[in-house]
């Protein structure tokens, strides 16, 4: 009975993998993998169609990287504050707030980003590019908006997992540092955080996973045209490409979308691989 249930999960993973490969690979044969991965021209419905997803891949990589760069420090400092410094009443306010943040559906993030963030971005854009003759105005729906939304969305993951890791550091370890005359700040940065590093790394990797896979929220704020991932450009991510085109795509176009899905799948697999590598390294001490 139990093994049957367990088998369901394995079967699901297995069939998804097979399905992704079966549907993603044909387009690679037909178009050529170099053409797909390294061409930057995405014109799937033109008469002389071109299926280069380089910019889309770059957008996902750069967008995720920037979101992590922004979200991880904020999340880590919040976790340090919660685990080490916050008075009980304040922690009792922050912690449920963080949990709530994790529970908000991603479409809400998208809508809020669209209503609040994009207008700000548009103001900024108008100021920065007032004299530019070449800039394509986006109305504020750009990479930067997506990065900020993603950074907020990974916060709960980063905070709760890092906090748990920091709390798991033995109190005597901190006491030893303090007893040597180190200040509490020195102790946090030089003993507590290093001692919790594998947990914190896990938090980062899971955050990356969440950011790479997010589609709904960023499709609402990122503008959705295929461009080089520059802060004020309208951009399209791997996920948003699938979301926005799958509805009408047919033929080869549709198959290339599956290839994009396969690329995304490979990304997630790599991230999972890194994660299990970290966890294994931790068990070995």
């Amino acid at each position: 009975m139990f093994s049957l249930c367990a088998f369901t999960a394995v079967a699901a993973v297995f069939s998804i993998t097979l399905y992704m490969i079966a549907n993603g690979v044909p387009a690679i044969w037909q178009v050529g993998w170099k053409e797909i991965l390294f061409s930057s021209v995405w014109q799937p419905v033109a008469r002389d169609a071109s299926f280069g997803i380089l910019y889309v891949i770059l957008t996902s990589v750069v967008g995720t990287f920037l979101a992590v760069l922004l979200g991880v420090p904020i999340g880590l400092f919040t976790a340090v504050f919660l685990a080490e410094a916050a008075p009980a009443w304040l922690a009792a306010v922050i912690r449920p707030a963080v949990e709530l943040l994790a529970g908000i559906p991603s479409v809400i993030y998208g809508v809020l980003g669209m209503m609040i963030l994009n207008p700000w971005m548009y103001c900024l854009e108008q100021m920065l590019f007032a004299d530019s003759l070449t800039h394509q105005f986006t109305g504020g729906a750009n990479l930067l908006s997506a990065v900020i939304v993603l950074a907020v969305m990974i916060l709960p993951t980063v905070i709760s997992i890092s906090e748990a890791a920091l709390r798991a550091v033995p109190p005597e370890l901190k006491a030893s540092s303090l007893a040597l005359g180190a200040s509490s700040v020195e102790t946090i940065f030089r003993v507590t955080i290093p001692a919790a590093r594998s947990g914190i790394l896990t938090a980062v990797v899971l955050g990356v996973g969440r950011a790479v896979g997010e589609a709904m929220a960023i499709s609402l704020v990122s503008g959705n045209s295929v461009n080089l991932p520059l802060p004020f450009c309208s951009v399209r991510f791997l996920t948003t490409a699938i979301v926005s085109e799958m509805g009408y795509a047919g033929g080869l176009h549709r198959q290339v979308l599956f290839t994009i899905g396969l690329v995304l799948f490979v990304f997630i697999m790599v991230i999972n691989g890194i994660l299990s590598g970290i966890l294994k390294g931790e068990r070995q001490g």
Binding site: A175, S176, L180, A182, P194, G285
Partner: protein
């Protein structure tokens, strides 16, 4: 009588409403080993922590009375905690090296206190490890993580780590209770080598250990110091009946 390194006067400590130390007045002799014995919960660790102000890390702990280090009040406004803890080092019950290399474990304290020069740090690391009688065992693996050492080696590493900041006093809270007999013996030998240069205060549940390593012994009971004398006298001719009963194993 040699000069006292640490002395307390009517030291009282409260954890909230709990009165954990009651009017402790003691003179700890310089460059000698003083053992603190007594049943569980009698306040030995609390007393030890009040000597380097580690008690201040406990929420709700309140200290009254005086503690003097070389005649200077350690709770006085002129006393800097960082400097105090450099002078009064501490070794804990569980061997707990930092999750870094052996070298970095030892260099941690000196770096905290501003030593940056690599050669100087190298010198301190070697000297401290030699003093803690562990140099021969680790000299070829200084850049490996300290987490791979045995329990006994870890504890001697922790002693070396404490010695690296050149303290004057070493507080040890049951330093061998998590170790096997052979490692325990090594640490006891080490204590014998260190006294004379350092003033050592050691908490132990092991009567034989107290008798073996210490010059003076204080017997604590329910937050009070019942008796304090030279180890030789306290174990042979205890003045108080409760001391007599404890050291002969009638309770505790």
């Amino acid at each position: 009588m040699p000069q006292s390194k640490i002395s307390t006067e009517k030291l009282n400590l409260y954890y909230g409403a709990k009165h954990a130390l009651k009017d402790i007045t003691i003179r700890i002799r310089s460059n000698m080993v003083t053992a603190l014995i007594g049943p569980s919960g009698c306040g030995k660790s609390t007393f030890l922590k009040s000597l380097n102000r580690m008690n201040e890390l406990t929420d709700g702990a309140r200290t009254e009375g005086k503690v003097y280090l070389d005649g200077e009040d350690i709770y006085g406004s002129g006393m800097d905690v960082t400097r105090l803890r450099k002078r009064v080092g501490m070794v804990f019950q569980q061997p707990n090296p930092f999750p870094m290399t052996i070298y970095d474990n030892i260099a941690y304290g000196p770096k905290v206190h501003g030593v940056r020069n690599k050669e100087k740090l190298d010198g301190i690391v070697e000297r401290s490890l030699r003093q803690a009688a562990i140099w021969e065992e680790v000299e070829n693996q200084l850049n490996r993580t300290a987490m791979g050492l045995s329990g006994g080696q870890k504890q001697r590493l922790c002693i070396a780590r404490a010695l690296a900041v050149e303290p004057e006093v070493l507080l040890m809270d049951e330093p061998t209770s998590a170790l096997d007999p052979v490692s325990t013996l090594k640490v006891e030998e080490l204590i014998g080598q260190l006294k004379g240069k350092y003033t050592i205060v050691i908490v132990t549940h092991n009567m034989q250990q107290a008798a073996r390593v210490s010059d003076d012994t204080a017997f604590f009971l329910m937050g009070e110091m019942v008796e304090f004398d030279t180890t030789a006298r306290l174990f042979v001719h205890p003045a108080d009946r409760r001391t007599q009963e404890y050291i002969t194993g009638k309770f505790g």
